[in-house]
Structures are given as structure tokens and as C-alpha cells.
Symmetry: C2
Subunit: 415 residues, 2 copies
């Protein structure tokens, strides 16, 4: 039996204890984690600093180093996020439905934890804490596998949280970190059916695809967002400029940022120059179709098929002029990652056509795609944004980390 | 591009039309299917007869031939099942939740079809109709891959349903059958991400495992039931005998039948002989642990670890004497397929411990496991019984063939 299987077995055992705790017991552990996180800030920052030094030496690019780096403020905001999770409602134990059958059998549909959640993610150490506490609150043990660049930070954070669990007389293995960050171990983890109930990968498209291709454990795909904003023939131009500017530039590195702008041919000549003027302020590079370049000038780089398929996560925007809402929908159907798609229009029928025919977690009319987020959708917190259709779609909160158990009670009924 | 991908593409296109139909339009198609099924009975039976002859010549065992065989009555009951589905409520378009955010953004959580459902199943031709009409009602196109023994029957049934769709001016590819029943094509089907939104295998443990191991499309595991009945120290003996007899013998070939009987040591001497006397009436073969054999006599075959792990689907029952409810739970945790598990007891604390600690889709107190079923649980119809935790757990009705879409409307909101 491999070390990983032994670990997974301990996590499964811990999940059985955790799964039946009361909300009070879980909240006590969460407050303990927040408190120990604050107390351990110097040690966490020391380990994080070692990760950052190491990443620098290995030539890791600066944006990734920024995601890796912790500061006193960042640790403090982690700790207060843990307290925020403690204050959320516990979904476990809710009875969703109860029926009494003609034969007297009583059937309750109750809400229970998934069991063990496996997280595979990249170099952001805050995911270690975020994921662990959302799992804890929803009664799930977690097996965490972060990127190798953050291993010292993650190990320190996991040790802090495990210490807090022990202090609360709970099994430390409710929160387990895979310290072996090799690819082989990650692949082994993806096949731990019977130990891990669901795998949630968080990171870039490459990571997500590797998990989808290799996992035999059920997976929830998250976070790849090739999002579109379509500006219809009679859109309010100022509104459309504000929306595409916000969707592209307010935080280009996140999954709900826009990557392609589609524009109806009848509004293109008026809208595109206004949009470009605004996007130029943030130095957005446009990559346009031929018709867009005729309007904006041939200084604009020509867009390729690959551009339409790319989640840039950067100050880059593909631009395409289309003949109709139908052509816009067809383009979206071809390239969408089913995350967030937007139409800016003042045509009622087109708004309804877009809503019905576009297949995505969130479809927007006259608002920025940037709102697809657990907080904005009222979930309190999120563990990721699902771009698949099974189990959860869109922002995933505590409820999405649960499943059902039917409890059937009788007095001897047979069939 | 392979023939399968071309077919899958047509099914995906068809799903876009089907997904936005009204309940009335879908019901019209369902009634048309029922009517054409009845009218085509002679042709269906002719093709089925060819399948049966062929299976006989190939030495297919009699129970499988029984599942393969259609009769006038069976076609009639298929047709009336289709009409029953037409009468069920359509879950599509329901608004599950609606919020208005402080910034005026309105967010509706709506219910939409999954898109394309892939079914991989064995030699029961009735699954072809059952699955197709549940998918149709819930707005999903389906790609069906049945066993090769039933190919002529399935082709005839699919042709009948497709004809009915065409007569209703709907795309025939809402219901598509894979006529190539090779293993290679099935494996290719399991990797059609982007075309198939969910795969539901229905059949024996081998089929299910092959799909879980090979699929990259999200899978819902169904129907493997290694179910246990635990008789506690103070159970009502008559009730316990009735329950184990019903759970084992009322229909041994189905997934909610019991496969192992666990008995508390303090009741074993009184209960086991009574249970055996009743089970003997149905010629159930017992395979017992040492303690059970001491009570029942060494004529009883010794049980092996493998017996505990086996879903017999036959008149065979493993029997084990345990020291406590905890040992019973531990045994179940080791061997359960998380389908249906039962305790027969008159001890309140033990009933609660069992309910909390046993991890299964359905946990029973003092009732037969045979009730785990869409009809019995009030779902109207079922496409299978999920034994996994993601998306759906337990009997899956129309609701479980849907997902959510958030519709977000604003007047220029940016973040």
C-alpha cells in the first residue's frame, strides 16, 4: 500500500468523525484555526519567503510570484475569511423533503457531506486555507495537493490548521496536505476511487484538462472562462463601453473576465472606436477580424481562430464583427467554456433568444460578466466556479460540497 | 472526423432545439411515440425475435434471454410507460431562486436540460425506450449504446421513436442509437467531451467499472447494490425474518436486493434458524461465517471475503454474526456499494448510530431495502439509481436529468 493510499485512508477515517459533528463543534474548530493562523504569522511568512526566494531563483514569472507571496495583511485576511465561513449557515442535516408513503414508510431526503474532497491546485497558498475551511464547515475532510512552488507555505499553513484541530480534540487528518508534489503522486491521487469522493481542480486550463483526462474519481471542472460580450445593433453605446471595459480590465487574470468582444455590424462603426479609446487607457491589445480592422485601422493585429479559443487572462481582447445575434450565438457555441456570456442590447426578442440559446453557467443581459462569483451571487463564499453541468454549475458554495442521504423508517414494511 | 463524432455533433445540434421546447411540444412527441410503438408492435417483435434466436444460437444464458425478450404485453407496457412520463411535471424552466442585489442586478437560478445524455447499457431493449423518453421529457437529446445482443430490437425501437419525432416536426437526432456495438466505439463514446454532457451506464458491475475507468465525460454511476440487512440484538424476530426474506427473495436480480445478512450475536441463536427456515422455502443458498455455521450446522457453506464483496443477484446470501452495531457498521463500511443498507432494531440509540454512520444513498430502519426505487420514492419514474455522491444520489428522476443556468439581468452594472 502506497504512502498516498495510507494517507487517504486516514483522511477517510477522519471524514467519518467530521461528517457527524454539530455546527457548533465545527465552528469552534474554525475559530481556533483563525486564531492560530494569526498567532503563527511569523512562521508562515518565513516559510513563504523561502518559497518566494526559491521561485525567483528558478525564474518563475513575476505574476505567479505575486500569487505565491503572502504578507501580514494577506494572512490576516485569510484569518478573517475563516471567521466569515464560521458565521455561514451549516447546510448539513437539513431535511430537504419528507414524505409518508401510503404503506406508512417515512422517507426523509437529508443533506450530508460528500465525505473526502480532493483539491488539486497551483501556487496560490490561500487556496490551502480557503478550501480546507469550506470543506470543514460542510463536514468534509480534504486532501490537498498544491503546487510545488508553494510547498513550504502550504506545509506551514496545513500544520497550523491541523494543530488547531488537535487542540479541539478533532482528528488532524480532517485536513491533509500531500507533501509529495510529484506529478506521479497527483495522478495516483486522481484514481483514488473509494477514498476521495470528488476532485476539484483549481488553476489554469492545462491543470483542469489533465485532471479531466486522468481522473477516475468524479471531477468538478472549474474556472476556465472564455467569456464573451456581444454588443447588439441597438445597444446603449456608453453602457456597452463600460461593460466591455469592466469585463476586460477590472481584473484580467480571473475566469469571469471577458476574452472576446462580438459586435453587430450595424453598430460596429459607432461602437468600436469608442470601445478602443476606453480600452487603450488600460493598454489592452486588440486582435480583430477583418471587418473590425477596417473600422479600427490595420494597426490592430488580425485575430486568428486560436485567439477566439484562448482564455488570455491578460490585457488582450479578440474582436469580431457579426451579422446578427444568431451569428454571435453560433460563435459563442463554438468557443464557449460555458462560464459567463453577456449580451448588451435594447432589443427584447434578442435578449430572450440569447438567454435561451446560450449554454453557460451564467448568461448576462446588460451587465458585466465579472459578477459570476460566490459572494456576488449570495452564496457567502465559494470554493470555485463550476463550468460543467453535473452536480454544480456556476459559483460553488457550501451547499455544493454536500450530497443527499435518504433515511427511510418503517415498522416492518416489505415490498 | 469519425462517424461517431459526426453523429454526436448532430445529436448536440438536436439538443439545442429540444432544450427550449415547451412541455406541450415535448408531450405531443411523447404521445406520438407511444402511439407509433403500439402500431409497430409486429415489426418490433419480428426484430426482437431475430435477436432472441441469435442469442440462443450463441449460447446466451436463459436469464439474459428473458431480459432481452419482448412480447405484445411488454411493448404495450412500454407504450403506457411513455404516456405516464408525458403526464409527469416538466422540471425545465423552473426558477429555483431569484435575488435582487443591492446594485439592482437580478439573478435567477433556473432549471435547464443537461444537453446530451449518453446511455451505455446491456441487453434490455426496454432501456432504449425508457431512457429516450425520460431524456426527451427533460429536454435532453440522448445517444444510446445498447448491448449487441439487442441490436435489432434497439434499432427497430429507435426507428419507431425517430419516426414519431419527425412526424412532430422535431429533429430525429433527439434520439440517436449507436448501431456499431463494438467495444472500441463505446470507448470512443466515453471520451466525447464537448458533445456528451453526462454518461449514465446501466448494467452489471463490469460495465459500470469499465465506464468509470475509461470515461473522460462526467459519469453517474448507477445500480451496483451490495446491500446489507443488520439484525440487532433486540429486533422483532418475525419482522426481521420478513424483511430479510423480502429483501433477498422478492426479486434477487435487482440492485436493491440484499446480499449479506449481519446478525448480532445475542439474537443469532434465536433468529438464524427462523430466517433459514423461511429462506429455505425459496431455496436460498446461505454462506455463513464460523459462528453462523455453529448455529445453522456445518451443512452451510463457509463464507469467504469474496462472498462479502459480491453482489450475487441470485438466491445466495452471505451471513455473518457480529458483536455489536459498531462491528456491523464497520463491515458495511468495508463492503458497501453505498446503495441501500438496513438495520432491524428496537434500540433507539443503535438506530440513530446506524443512520448517522452508514454512508449510503438510502439507510433503512425496520423496512426492506427493496423500496429504493424512483416510483416508491415518489419521483414518478427513474432512469437509474445513483450510487455516487455527485449530482444525484439514489433514484434519479426527471429532476436529476437537469442542471442550472443563472440568468443575470441589469441595466449596465459593472463591478
Amino acid at each position: 500500500m502506497s504512502e498516498l493510499v495510507k494517507l487517504a485512508q486516514r483522511v477517510k477515517e477522519a471524514s467519518r468523525v467530521l461528517g457527524i459533528l454539530s455546527a457548533e463543534e465545527k465552528n469552534r474548530a474554525l475559530y481556533a484555526i483563525a486564531s492560530v493562523l494569526r498567532d503563527s504569522t511569523p512562521e508562515i511568512l518565513k516559510q513563504n519567503d523561502a518559497d518566494v526566494q526559491n521561485a525567483r531563483q528558478n525564474g518563475v514569472p513575476e505574476p505567479m510570484i505575486d500569487r505565491l507571496r503572502l504578507t501580514k495583511d494577506r494572512v490576516e485576511s485569510m484569518a478573517s475569511a475563516v471567521e466569515h465561513v464560521a458565521r455561514l449557515e451549516d447546510p448539513i442535516g437539513q431535511v430537504e423533503q419528507g414524505i409518508r408513503r401510503p404503506n406508512g414508510l417515512e422517507i426523509l431526503k437529508t443533506r450530508v457531506p460528500l465525505g473526502v474532497v480532493g483539491m488539486i491546485y497551483e501556487s496560490r497558498p490561500n487556496v490551502t486555507v480557503d478550501a480546507a475551511v469550506l470543506c470543514l464547515k460542510s463536514g468534509n475532510a480534504c486532501l490537498l495537493r498544491g503546487g510545488k512552488e508553494a510547498i513550504r507555505s502550504n506545509t506551514a499553513l496545513a500544520a497550523v490548521m491541523r494543530g488547531a484541530l488537535r487542540a479541539c480534540k478533532l482528528p488532524a487528518d480532517c485536513i491533509a496536505l500531500l507533501e509529495d508534489t510529484s506529478r506521479e503522486t497527483a495522478t495516483e491521487m486522481m484514481k483514488l476511487n473509494g477514498y476521495i469522493d470528488v476532485l476539484i481542480p483549481r488553476g489554469g486550463a492545462g491543470l483542469i484538462q489533465s485532471v479531466v483526462q486522468n481522473a477516475t474519481v468524479p471531477v468538478i471542472e472549474t474556472g476556465v472562462g472564455n467569456c464573451h460580450v456581444y454588443v447588439d445593433y441597438n445597444a446603449d453605446i456608453e453602457m456597452a463601453v463600460n461593460i466591455i471595459n469592466n469585463a476586460k480590465t477590472s481584473r484580467p487574470s480571473v475566469c469571469n473576465a471577458a476574452e472576446t468582444l462580438l459586435v453587430h455590424k450595424d453598430i460596429a462603426a459607432a461602437f468600436l472606436p469608442a470601445a478602443k479609446a476606453r480600452l487603450d487607457l488600460s493598454h489592452v491589445q486588440l486582435r480583430g477580424c477583418e471587418r473590425a480592422r477596417e473600422i479600427l485601422g490595420h494597426g490592430v493585429i488580425p485575430a486568428t481562430e486560436k485567439d477566439y479559443a484562448t482564455e488570455f487572462l491578460d490585457y488582450i481582447l479578440a474582436v469580431k464583427v457579426v451579422d446578427s445575434v444568431y451569428e454571435a450565438i453560433q460563435h459563442i457555441q463554438t468557443y464557449t467554456s460555458m462560464h459567463s456570456e453577456c449580451i448588451v442590447t435594447n432589443d427584447y426578442a434578442n435578449s430572450q433568444t440569447f438567454i435561451k440559446q446560450v449554454d453557460a453557467a451564467a448568461v448576462y443581459v446588460n451587465a458585466s460578466t465579472r459578477f459570476t462569483d460566490g459572494g456576488e451571487f449570495g452564496l457567502g463564499a465559494e470554493i470555485g466556479i463550476s463550468t460543467q453541468k453535473l452536480h454544480a454549475r456556476g459559483p460553488m458554495g457550501l451547499m455544493q460540497l454536500t450530497t443527499n442521504k435518504y433515511i427511510v423508517t418503517g415498522n416492518g414494511q416489505i415490498r
